[in-house]
Symmetry: C2
Subunit: 207 residues, 2 copies
């Protein structure tokens, strides 16, 4: 589509550079801005700029933060003895949404992946070791992807931290709640039979 306005063309190209937005959607968004008052675009642009220029990485856990520490690390009501280790900030959001975890986080920034050239040095592993060395942490919950890279990362962390008196656990793997058994993949179903647990009344009740 050949746009008659150069200004519109530039706005469309800017929108189309965002993930998941094609040229047609980008044109729709740009025309939406044209049809609204100028203040609307100014507010949008300002919100994006303020966010990008103001947002920081939490100095403790590398979650997104507005201040030196993120809301989770700065919250005195959180349990500081339990730290959940995740790959990225989206994982923090997903776990926070469950409202099942009251400890702190540590965002690794990825997992060890020799194929993609990601070694331990590129991840936030050294400062996790420093946090553990601080002595306050009693349990590290590994909540990384159930992949070979994720398992490698857990293995590496466990080895690196074995000198410290910290318990390392991993989130439970098995069939999904509410899913139908016949649709679970073979590996998951097989492992969930091997790793079966004794049935207890009321065990799954959220605490």
């Amino acid at each position: 589509m050949n746009l008659s306005s150069k200004l519109l063309e530039e706005a469309v190209q800017a929108f189309a550079g965002l993930p998941g937005i094609g040229r047609k959607s980008a044109l729709r968004l740009a025309l939406h801005l044209v049809n609204r008052e100028t203040e609307y675009t100014e507010q949008l642009a300002q919100a994006l700029l303020r966010m990008r220029q103001g947002i920081r990485s939490c100095e403790m856990c590398h979650n997104l933060a507005d201040e030196r520490l993120c809301n989770v690390c700065a919250d005195p009501r959180r349990d500081r003895s339990t730290v959940c280790v995740v790959e990225n900030i989206r994982d923090v959001m997903a776990i926070e949404d469950t409202q099942q975890f009251r400890g702190l986080y540590h965002v690794l920034g990825g997992v060890i992946s020799p194929i993609e050239g990601i070694g331990p040095d590129q991840l936030n592993i050294d400062d996790l070791a420093q946090r553990v060395a601080g002595g306050e942490i009693r349990e590290l919950i590994m909540a990384v992807s159930p992949t070979i890279e994720g398992d490698t990362t857990i293995f590496y962390l466990t080895k690196k931290l074995r000198e410290y008196p910290v318990q390392i656990t991993a989130i439970a793997r098995g069939v999904s709640f509410g899913g139908e058994l016949e649709y679970a993949d073979e590996l998951t179903l097989g492992r969930s039979i091997v790793a079966r647990i004794p049935y207890q009344l009321g065990e799954d009740k959220p605490t």
Copy 2:
């Protein structure tokens, strides 16, 4: 989803205010900005602001324009005796994309719709009459939606302009090219039989 960062929350809300973007997509877009360098967001914001603050309505045809006249009206190679009357700027883009029309446009800004409270006064009809009164235009091609409102608008325009020596035509209606006949709607198929045209060799060849 409860975001830990207020700045991120505001950016997500700004994105989610755009048409077709839900909260999840908005979060994805905002995190994309966070992951890219700050200049990326600045360029996006600047492109949107420049577009919104700089874009104008063409003084002749009401198409989008960067200058006083849009690219089409300012182009000396266009045929100034033929004007295509459309509802909105997206229609101009669609027709320009066909590369079948070398005349000028006139954007009405909608169609007459008593139900939605849109009368002739809210549309760019008076200045179309002025353009016609100028005497240069020999043909007005009505390219409005094939609806009752569209037909009403064509009827109104034809009556309003009958004192001028201008020919009024409407774009052809019938079954689509490349479509299968059995899927054409009844009304279109029925009318295209009633309004059948003599077959001529090479008639559909683009000129």
